[in-house]
């Protein structure tokens, strides 16, 4: 589904990714862990199409297409979704209005008919129940005045409504208390299917207690230094990253 080969990327003059390789197949859940400043969020942003990064080498193929040449909205319409680490506030824009515009833009792209307001609202309400979200968050402006936890939950709601093929979760677990974490994990597990893949960026093992990953990768210095299964995350929790950095330096 997603194939990243030898990816190099800079922001301004600083090289952040230095030859990153990653293969994600449909049905898989991958977790990317790593120390601060290792390039985790940069990777998520580049995959979603954020401007300001220069890809200097390598390639990213998504569903057989060159992802890097697609504008962000087209990536979204092709089924890629990024749950933001810091979701932005958009004053005056109704939360459900944005969600409906997004949903219908994606449907239109697939050649499907747009859903009317009544059916759409029914769909959204069903998804909200899954993640125990208050109904009044629909009528509020996008993320405006939301608490940190509400913002993250709103990201998961959008993901559940838009039903992406590939979901990128950028530190969705940080800043959540344990109850909120469980609810968010439930939402992510709901999305799990043989046709979909999830790429989670996280600092903490605790999210992986609720979502069992098929693969765990350690990203440091702009490259994947080590890959393994769920046990690698447990080992990282115990031993930190230094031993991997040391191993890689050898």
């Amino acid at each position: 589904m997603l194939s990243i080969k030898n990816l190099h990327a800079k922001i301004e003059d600083r090289e952040i990714l230095r030859g990153l390789d990653l293969e994600v197949k449909a049905g898989e859940i991958h977790a990317i862990m790593g120390p601060n400043g290792s390039g985790k969020s940069t990777l998520a942003h580049i995959l979603a199409g954020r401007e300001g990064y220069a890809v200097t080498n390598g390639s990213v193929t998504y569903l057989g297409k060159d992802l890097l040449t697609m504008p962000p909205e087209e990536r979204a319409r092709e089924g890629l979704f990024l749950a933001f680490q810091y979701p932005v506030e958009i004053p005056g824009v109704n939360n459900v209005y944005l969600l409906k515009a997004a949903y219908n833009a994606i449907r239109k792209h697939r050649g499907e008919e747009e859903l009317d307001a009544v059916d759409f609202l029914a769909l959204v309400r069903a998804r909200m129940q899954l993640i125990e979200m208050d109904a009044d968050m629909l009528s509020r402006a996008v993320n405006e005045g939301f608490s940190g936890g509400e913002k993250k939950r709103n990201e998961i709601l959008q993901m559940l409504v838009l039903e992406p093929k590939l979901a990128l979760l950028d530190e969705t677990d940080s800043g959540l208390d344990i109850d909120a974490l469980k609810v968010v994990a439930k939402g992510i597990n709901k999305l799990r299917s043989p046709e979909r893949a999830v790429l989670m960026i996280t600092h903490y093992q605790r999210l992986l207690d609720y979502i069992a990953p098929d693969f765990v990768h350690v990203l440091a210095g702009g490259r994947i230094l080590k890959s393994g299964d769920g046990n690698l995350a447990l080992e990282l929790e115990r031993r930190g990253y230094d031993w991997i950095l040391a191993e890689a330096a050898v």
């Binding site: 979603a48 990024l82 824009v93 402006a141």
Partner: protein, 488 residues
């Protein structure tokens, strides 16, 4: 002809004057009846005579003109323009100047037609808006007739200003200039001397106007753009909502517009005045465009009255207007809701004045300024609480949205409070439409233009919700068209 001429009131004198002047430069042809450029007392007498005005009207005009001669053009607004040559303007043109008008839609600027298309203006109305020289371009007569009948049944007068001067001179004489005196300011004084037409509305005591009054339905509305005069009177407990303008850009050859609008609300009366202003803003390089120098003021004359201004200003090269409310009656309420856009090289200096005179008077100001391209947008507002205005309240919210790196947003709030019981609040924000917001929407599958529209509409929401429903939808679409490709 610059010396004071004898008062001209009889038709034969008028004809002589016209004919006499013709040799000296009056232009007359079959379609147009245009006075040669220039302004003097004879021109004013001619305008008045052409309209068969009563003596008081002519005298008022002349008083205004004589006062105007003593005034200097004001330059305190945050706008720049080349000097205006007031002697090069033709102050009378009737009934319609069609010499330069396009003969068919094929001759109309395709860009203008494209805009109509985007705004969803019905095909049969496009020709009229574009100023195509065809009579009865669309059949509005039946609509207008039904409309007038309904109003007449309620005892409401809604007609062209010139008609009101002839048919209801006592009302005009009583109220004209009672809110904006002829000596008010340079442009209002000029208007008082030379205004050609406009709207007149009178809603009698206790009547709630059953319809939204719109210039769209007014007969004889054509070609009153340059020096328009509007007077709206709501008697005790009367309610009226008035819509001015049109979302579609209108063709107009005149560069200077100096309109005056006066609103009078007696005890318990409510007047809601909504404007969508979309005059030609000039091209992307700042060439051409209308100078829109308008004086709009309402007076809450009676207790418990209410005046509300809502404006969406997207057009004109320069906008200079401050719809204001004099809160004279106790417990009266003044409101001002504004969206002003300055794109390309447009300049907007707009805001309001809320003058609290009576007790327990309240005012609300919500101003949303959008700057794009090289546009300069200024909010200028005055909240004044006089000594006797016990318990006056004002809330002002003033937000600016920047859409490029070359535009500007400026805020000039003035407050003068002379009563210690007053509460005056002012909130202001300036934000740039952020890459983060755009990227967020796009990453959800929403196209850039749609995302911009969404964010801008969200910014203007507090104002749009004050507009009559149908107008609000049009205004939103207008904003989208105005700001097309503006992010950068």
């Amino acid at each position: 002809m610059n010396e004071a001429a004898p008062a001209v009131t009889q038709a034969s004198d008028v004809e002589n004057l016209v004919r006499g002047e013709y040799r000296h430069g009056f232009v007359t042809d079959i379609e147009a009846d245009t006075v040669a450029p220039g302004l003097n007392e004879d021109v004013i007498r001619l305008i008045s005579a052409k309209k068969y005005e009563p003596q008081f009207m002519l005298e008022w005009r002349l008083k205004a003109f004589r006062h105007w001669l003593t005034l200097q053009e004001p330059h305190w607004a945050h706008v720049r323009h080349a000097p205006i040559d007031y002697q090069s303007i033709s102050y009378y043109s009737a009934p319609k100047s069609k010499q330069n008008a396009p003969r068919s839609l094929d001759e109309v600027d395709p860009k203008l037609l494209e805009t109509y298309e985007k705004l969803g203006v019905p095909l049969h109305e496009r020709a009229k808006l574009a100023g195509v020289a065809v009579d009865a371009v669309f059949d509005s007569v039946s609509v207008a007739t039904t409309f007038r009948k309904k109003l007449a049944e309620a005892g409401i007068i809604f007609c062209a200003f010139s008609e009101a001067v002839k048919s209801y001179p006592e009302l005009v004489e009583k109220y004209l200039g009672s809110v904006v005196p002829y000596s008010d300011n340079f442009f209002a004084t000029l208007n008082s001397a030379v205004f050609t037409d406009g709207s007149f509305v009178f809603v009698p005591k206790g009547v709630r106007c059953p319809l939204e009054l719109s210039t769209y339905f007014r007969i004889n509305a054509a070609n009153t753009g340059q020096f328009e005069r509007t007077l709206i009177i709501a008697e005790e407990d009367a309610h009226v909502s008035y819509l001015e303008g049109c979302t579609a850009p209108m063709r107009d050859e005149n560069q200077l517009h100096a309109a005056v609008v006066e609103l009078i609300a007696l005890e318990g009366a409510q007047i809601k005045y909504s404007t969508v202003q979309n005059w030609y803003p000039g091209d992307a390089n700042g060439v051409g465009g209308i100078y829109n120098f308008v004086t709009k003021r309402g007076e809450c004359r009676g207790a418990d009255s209410r005046i509300s201004w809502t404006q969406v200003e997207t057009g004109s090269a320069i906008t200079w207007k401050y719809p204001s409310v004099l809160l004279r009656g106790d417990n009266s309420i003044g409101e001002f809701y504004s969206v002003a856009v300055a794109n390309h090289y447009q300049q907007a200096d707009t805001g309001t004045k809320m003058i609290h005179i009576g007790r327990n008077t309240r005012s609300t100001i919500v101003s949303k300024g959008i700057s794009a391209g090289h546009g300069q947008n200024s909010y200028r507002g005055l909240v004044k609480v006089l000594a006797k205005a016990e318990n006056a309240r004002n809330y002002t919210q003033c937000d600016s949205l920047l859409m490029s790196d070359r535009c500007g947003a400026h805020t000039f709030p003035y407050m003068e409070v002379k009563n210690p019981t007053a509460k005056v609040e002012h909130e202001a924000t300036t934000s740039k439409i952020s890459d983060d917001q755009l990227f967020y929407c796009r990453s959800r599958g929403v196209a850039t233009e749609d995302a911009v529209n969404m964010i801008v509409s969200g910014f203007c929401k507090d104002v749009f919700k004050e507009l009559p429903m149908e107008f609000a939808v049009e205004a939103q679409r207008l904003l989208a068209v105005t700001l097309e490709g503006a992010v950068g």
